[in-house]
């Protein structure tokens, strides 16, 4: 699963959900355990790193996402993202929500 859009790459789980739905409605039989490969292990395979990442198996790097619900939904949100075993994003912890240089110091003093 791929997107050349800066919006689309943020929501490949939703794009995978659409493709799975449309495939199933066209008469194919695509279970979620297959569709999840489109945005996990198949990507690793295409980069030649499926021996290190892309699946949750003993011995693989601990790159994983904790979701608040089934990821094949518009309402799904990642709660935590681990890269190589280290927590790199946490929805409830502002200290673990990185910001680009471009945004730093903009709209000073503004908050909802």
């Amino acid at each position: 699963m791929h997107s050349d859009s800066e919006e689309g790459i943020q929501r490949l789980n939703q794009e995978a959900a659409k493709a799975m739905l449309r495939g199933n409605r066209a008469g194919l039989d695509i279970p979620p355990e297959r569709a999840i490969r489109w945005i996990t292990s198949n990507a690793a395979k295409s980069l030649g790193i499926d021996g290190q990442t892309g699946t949750l198996r003993p011995g693989m790097m601990a790159d994983l996402v904790l979701w608040n619900q089934d990821p094949f939904s518009v309402y799904a949100k990642p709660l935590q993202v681990y890269i190589d075993g280290a927590l790199h994003f946490d929805r409830d912890d502002p200290a673990l929500q990185p910001q680009s240089d471009f945004e730093l110091g903009q709209l000073l003093g503004v908050s909802p």
């Binding site: 800066e6 929501r11 939703q14 739905l21 094949f72 518009v74 503004v110 909802p112």
Partner: protein, 410 residues
């Protein structure tokens, strides 16, 4: 052929066959007015919703057993150039914007409805995904006052327009770039154009006599859609609209959350893309996923658009993202169904007796990506659920192509 035969043909071509009666049983009915969905039956005839109630007893030509599936009014596809553009790079197929004119800086008299083609392939492509209407847009090219459009129904009619005439004015960072080299210069020119309306002289380098007449009438009768994202531009729109007593709508509004109280006080609706969460340019700094929720909480009317024509069907995903980030589900359904018609002056679109029967039965939650439209009804008639894309699928899905794909004609 004799005359009566011609007359009969004309009748058949002009009047849709309204004989069909459709009964939808046990649907999870989203009325589209912001209320909670309830299990109901819906009776449709003469192109109109006749009754909505539990356990309706009625003879119908077609019965659709919804079995608890959601039923909504046909959705609003957002602000699009549907029927005005086939392929962006094929210039003769694009009619959504005005450019290469050597006269006048502003042409409010430009009206995209003159070029509308109901047979554009994107219309069935969008309709089979559950969409019944759109706001036809004049897009900015080298003129910031982009022209006129209005609501259009996706019922295949050549002149299926309704509601108020809508004028599009681009006042974002790009407007100054196009006209005058500064946003301030652009506002100066807009101000001059409106000042001209009070005089009998005509500055033809700015606006033609026809344009002046259009603007004069539009000020009283039309809606002005201002394309803007930056908070300061949004406040300038409010001042301009109040000074000239214009009915204004914002399109874009990525920083609208920053001035939501002012927008609420001025009763200016915002048409936004709830997926806009990136600082793509300086006008979009601070773009955030809960923009719609924050605006709604402040009392601002929120509508959705995807910014796309050829993927306008994506706008229900846009609304879903807004719900995922705090907007109440029933509010989003209203914003996707009846509310755009109300804002832009169209006919009632809720699932209520007397409303036009543009109705969709869904496989699941209409705002989620794991559901799709099972059956679309437009003007009280079952849609074929066919489009160029469904037919391409039917042609290319079979493993065995037989004599060749060109012989597979769905």
């Amino acid at each position: 052929m004799n005359c009566s035969k011609y007359f009969l043909m004309a009748l058949l071509l002009s009047a849709p066959a309204y004989a069909e009666t459709i009964l939808i049983t046990d649907g999870l009915v989203h009325t589209g007015d912001g209320s909670t969905a309830e299990r109901r039956d819906i009776l449709i005839s003469d192109g109109t919703i006749q009754r909505v109630a539990a356990d309706l007893q009625a003879d119908a030509d077609t019965v659709i057993e919804a079995n608890g599936r959601p039923v909504t009014p046909a959705l609003f596809a957002g602000i699009t150039a549907s029927g005005l553009s086939e392929i962006g790079m094929v210039y003769e197929s694009v009619d959504s914007g005005l450019n290469e004119l050597y006269t006048g800086l502003m042409h409010p008299e430009f009206d995209v409805r003159d070029a509308y083609n109901p047979y554009a392939s994107v219309i069935p492509v969008t309709r089979v995904e559950g969409y019944g209407y759109s706001l036809l847009s004049a897009t900015t090219r080298d003129r910031t006052l982009a022209g006129q459009g209005s609501l259009v129904r996706f019922d295949g009619g050549f002149t299926s327009f309704e509601g108020d005439t809508v004028l599009y004015v681009n006042v974002d960072g790009d407007s100054g770039n196009k006209l005058g080299g500064s946003r301030a210069a652009h506002w100066m020119l807009l101000q001059n154009a409106f000042d001209e309306l009070a005089t009998t002289d005509a500055d033809l380098t700015l606006i033609s006599a026809a344009g002046k007449a259009t603007l004069k009438s539009a000020r009283k009768n039309s809606l002005f859609v201002f394309q803007a994202n930056r908070a300061s531009d949004l406040l300038r729109v409010i001042r301009f609209a109040q000074a000239h007593k214009l009915r204004a709508v914002i399109s874009g509004g990525q920083q609208a959350w920053m001035v939501r109280e002012a927008l609420s006080d001025a009763s200016i609706p915002v048409v936004l893309n709830a997926m806009d969460n990136l600082p793509g340019n300086f006008d979009a700094l601070g773009a955030r996923l809960d923009n719609a929720a924050l605006l709604h909480e402040a009392g601002v009317t929120v509508l959705f658009t995807s910014g796309e024509t050829h993927n306008a069907r994506k706008v229900r995903q846009v609304a879903g993202v807004a719900v995922a980030n705090g907007l109440p589900h029933a509010v989003a359904i209203k914003a996707m169904t009846s509310l755009p018609a109300a804002v832009f002056g169209g006919a009632e679109r809720g699932l209520v007796p007397g409303a036009r029967a543009d109705v969709v039965v869904w496989s699941g939650d209409p705002l989620d990506v794991n559901a799709a439209a099972d059956q679309v009804i437009i003007g009280g008639q079952l849609d074929s659920m066919q489009s160029r894309q469904t037919q391409l699928l039917q042609r290319y899905l079979p493993v065995d192509a037989g004599m060749g794909r060109a012989y597979i004609n769905p």
